[in-house]
Amino acid sequence: MNIKIISRTISSILFLEAIMMLPSLIWCFIDREWDVIASFVVSVSLICLAALLLRLFSRHANDNFQAQEGFLTVALSWIVISAMGALPFFISGQIPNYVDAFFETVSGFTTTGASILSDVESMSRGLLYWRSFTHWLGGMGILVFALAVMPSSKTGSGKLYLMQAESPGPSVGKLTPRLHTTAGILYGIYVVLTLLCILFLVMGGMPFFESLCTAFGTAGTGGFGVKNDSITSYSPYIQNVCTIFMLLFGVNFNIYYLALLREGKSILRDEELRLYLFIFLCATGIIAWNIRSMCLSWEDSLRHAAFQVSSIMTTTGFCTTDFNLWPPLSKAVLLCLMVLGACAGSTGGGIKTVRVTLMSKILRRDILKTLNPRSVVLVHMNGRQVEESVLRGVSSFIAAYIILVGGSFLLVSADGISIEGSMSAVLACINNVGPGLAEVGPMSNFQELSEPVKLVLAGDMLLGRLEIFPLLSIFSRHAWNRRM
């Protein structure tokens, strides 16, 4: 394992993080909050110092960059940027406990949106901006961002592993021959969609600062709001804008690239997109019917149902109403949607629609094979045969997912909250949703949990965002072995 090249990459990522912190200062200047500015300056200098030390250590790095290095780099970068990103919250004293600040930052970068703050509105705007901006960075991935902005190396060997480890989905394909351009296109689409979202929110009369933060939360499918009651108090128009944009950011970004190339046919034929929209419509229908007695009108129940389904399915976690009070059927539908998640290659979390599709195809094949042992059955997706290694990856991902959910559930339930509360907390974190049910429902937060449990949940968020294996690889003895 080439520790020096890993350090060098992480040091670049840290520099990038320091630069990304700077826009928050604008809001501090406007509000004349000098102590918050000081805390940002101290944090930025600490990050730069760490980055410089790493750069110094990795002076004579050779370019040997393979799968091992790729996965370790991604896993370590995410832990390091979360630990460093928590500094402004902690130093400014607005989140006095470092574990809490770490939880909040991990929740930001992993686009979970689970918060420990009971009164968001009392926080200063600079910090709120940074908190929402972590969503935006984490949504598409900070290493993909680095690939997009940094000049591509001549051979670019091994850099694909970075993207594979950070981007969600069972198999990551390139859009163009050069990784640099692929990452650039993905971020281009992301930026344009975010700007559109901001525009529509501002047109609905939302103040500029709030629309920025809400748009970041929507784009990264994060869910940090700037109000204590999330989106509840905004107008129906703004709620509908959020519904649509959350849904858009939950779609595989390759679809938008195909749209740019005007390949309408292959978009319509995309199995994952069709299933995703089908589930959205079904779930909205079921919930709207189920909560009709609690709402004033059909329009009202449909709007709440659509918003909540879109928010939970794309693992954003905004809310327009306290769905904790909804009937059990609706809550069960939402829990299932949490696990299901958005499309691969989007900013959303969860198991991903494509994996569920593939899993059901694997099951169908295995049933056929039991009945007819000599039959040869291939699994197809969008008219192409899916490689056996991808199928194996899907099966082992789901197995690892179940084991991790079970283990975390045991640990979290030690805290003494209700079964519903602990189960939904684990699911909300590992799927990067944010709010769960009962004690951790949409109108309450994670403040009351003990510190070890918060760390377990923060770990779950990272596992969920990086899709388990890159993070687990840190704990493998083989990852740290010298390559022979």
């Binding site: 393979q66 799968a67 591509s152 190396s153 001549k154 051979t155 670019g156 060997s157 091994g158 850099k159 694909l160 592993y161 390139k174 163009t176 021959p177 050069r178 990784l179 640099h180 351009t181 490689e387």
Partner: protein
């Protein structure tokens, strides 16, 4: 530039390496998923899995947006069909196909346009021609031609006790007797561009620019190897052997081919009535001895196995065959035994540098590269440029031109007259200029060799 490479074999891989390094957008097509996965890990390329000659695969690889297709799969027919199909999808596409079967040579020549080929490459024939040129002047380890064959850069090794030993380059003219320029020296694996006070030592590999008509004189004055090659043994009877034997027999050299496959030996005997064909295993010492290895002037190893070729060449070298040429496909470890196997010829390298040259010429830039040769084990490049309006420092004496570190202008051709330049020489519009550059930097056009 967007380039498609069909076939991820030896040549495909070498091309991918080169073209990615030069900054092109490369997409590789192959039907073998495992080969592609290897590539994805090593190079920044896109891969498409499928039959390269099929319409769907080519579409998926983006043939409509590409500028060049290189078909280098193992089958000639696939390559031609691939180019034909691709050309029907994209009229402006340049296509290069590797076609090796000698039976197709003629129709390729006459039907190139009809088949949609911009260039067809036969690595075996290129290799045979290369070996033939080396056998013409056995004293040189390698020869690269420039300026339509008027200028060559030759490699020679300075043996112990030679007249060139301990000579400073300033005094070279006194010994050589003709005007030549030492453009690169490889000493213990390190390649340098020497200046006038550089002193040559035994064991150095020296790269000399000389006019082609002066080569015979140079050989004579340096007292390296003057005797002509008259008896050649070829070990292995593949396509290269066939092409090479034809070339050699044409100039009256006696050729003996050792081949162990009876069918192939019989076929060679039919095709080459003037050559003597021996059926037997060329890697057996006793056979080589009984077939007269001691009496041969030159031995060329051309079997399909690199290891076998290297061992046979080392043996021939030890028993004192004057000129040994070894065909090596994979050059990865070749530096270990370079001194023991004489000249090395690699069909894969020849083929890929021929294509790289085509690609560079396609990018119609100022100060276009018209010829490119890798010398000194890829440690340096010799490039030939066209001087046009955009080129800087025209009509400036060379001593005042700010060249980059590690660049040397080694020849100027002015109106068909070649000049080995000195400090007062100038180049003008319409000339061609040969520059030697130590590798590591990619030179795309002539202005790249000057300091900013």
């Amino acid at each position: 530039m967007k380039i498609l490479i069909a076939g991820d074999g030896k040549v495909g891989m070498a091309l991918t390496h080169e073209l990615v390094r030069e900054g092109h957008d490369v997409t590789v097509i192959d039907s073998n998923m495992n080969a592609l996965r290897m590539d994805l890990g090593r190079y920044d390329v896109m891969t498409v899995n499928g039959n390269a000659a099929a319409l769907n695969t080519l579409r998926e690889a983006g043939v409509e947006q590409s500028e060049l297709l290189i078909a280098a799969t193992s089958a000639d027919e696939t390559n031609i069909l691939c180019c034909l199909t691709a050309r029907s999808l994209n009229k402006n596409l340049h296509t290069i196909a590797r076609v090796r079967n000698p039976e197709y040579t003629e129709q390729l020549f006459t039907m190139r346009e009809y088949l949609g080929l911009s260039l067809s490459i036969n690595p075996e024939f290129s290799a045979a021609r290369e070996i033939f040129r080396l056998l013409q002047f056995p004293g040189f380890l390698r020869r690269e031609t420039f300026a339509k064959g008027r200028v060559e850069i030759v490699e020679l090794k300075i043996p112990e006790g030679a007249s060139l030993q301990n000579v400073a380059l300033n005094n070279l003219y006194k010994i050589a007797g003709v005007k030549v320029l030492v453009c690169a020296v490889s000493r213990q694996g390190k390649v340098e561009i020497p200046n006038g006070s550089y002193v040559l030592r035994a064991g150095d590999h020296v790269y000399v620019t000389a006019r082609a008509i002066n080569l015979a004189q140079l050989i004579k004055n340096l007292k390296i190897e003057t005797q002509k090659i008259r008896h050649v043994i070829l070990v292995g009877g593949g396509r290269i052997s066939y092409y090479l034997a034809e070339l050699l027999l044409g100039t009256g050299v006696r050729v003996k081919i050792i081949e162990k496959d009876p069918d192939r030996a019989a076929r060679l005997a039919e095709l080459l009535p003037k050559a003597s064909i021996v059926l037997g295993d060329g890697s057996m010492q006793s056979l080589l001895e009984s077939e007269g290895v001691y009496g041969a002037d030159a031995l060329v190893t051309l079997t399909g196995m690199d290891e076998e070729n290297i061992v046979i060449s080392m043996f021939a070298h030890t028993v004192g065959v004057r000129k040994v040429i070894t065909k090596v496909n994979r050059q990865e470890f070749s530096y270990i035994f370079n001194d023991m196997i004489g000249s090395v010829v690699s069909p894969k390298e020849l083929c890929s540098s021929e294509i790289v040259r085509y690609v560079r010429a396609m990018q119609k830039q100022t100060g276009q590269v018209i010829t490119l040769h890798r010398i000194a084990n890829e440690g340096a490049e010799a490039l030939e440029f066209n001087v046009d309006d955009e080129v800087q420092w025209c009509n400036t004496p060379l001593k005042d031109v700010p060249l980059k570190q590690g660049v040397l202008i080694s020849c100027i051709t002015h109106k068909g007259k070649t000049v080995i330049p000195d400090g007062s020489s100038v180049f003008q519009k319409g000339d061609t200029v040969i520059a030697v550059v130590t590798s590591g930097r990619v030179i795309q056009q002539m202005n790249d060799i000057f300091e900013e």
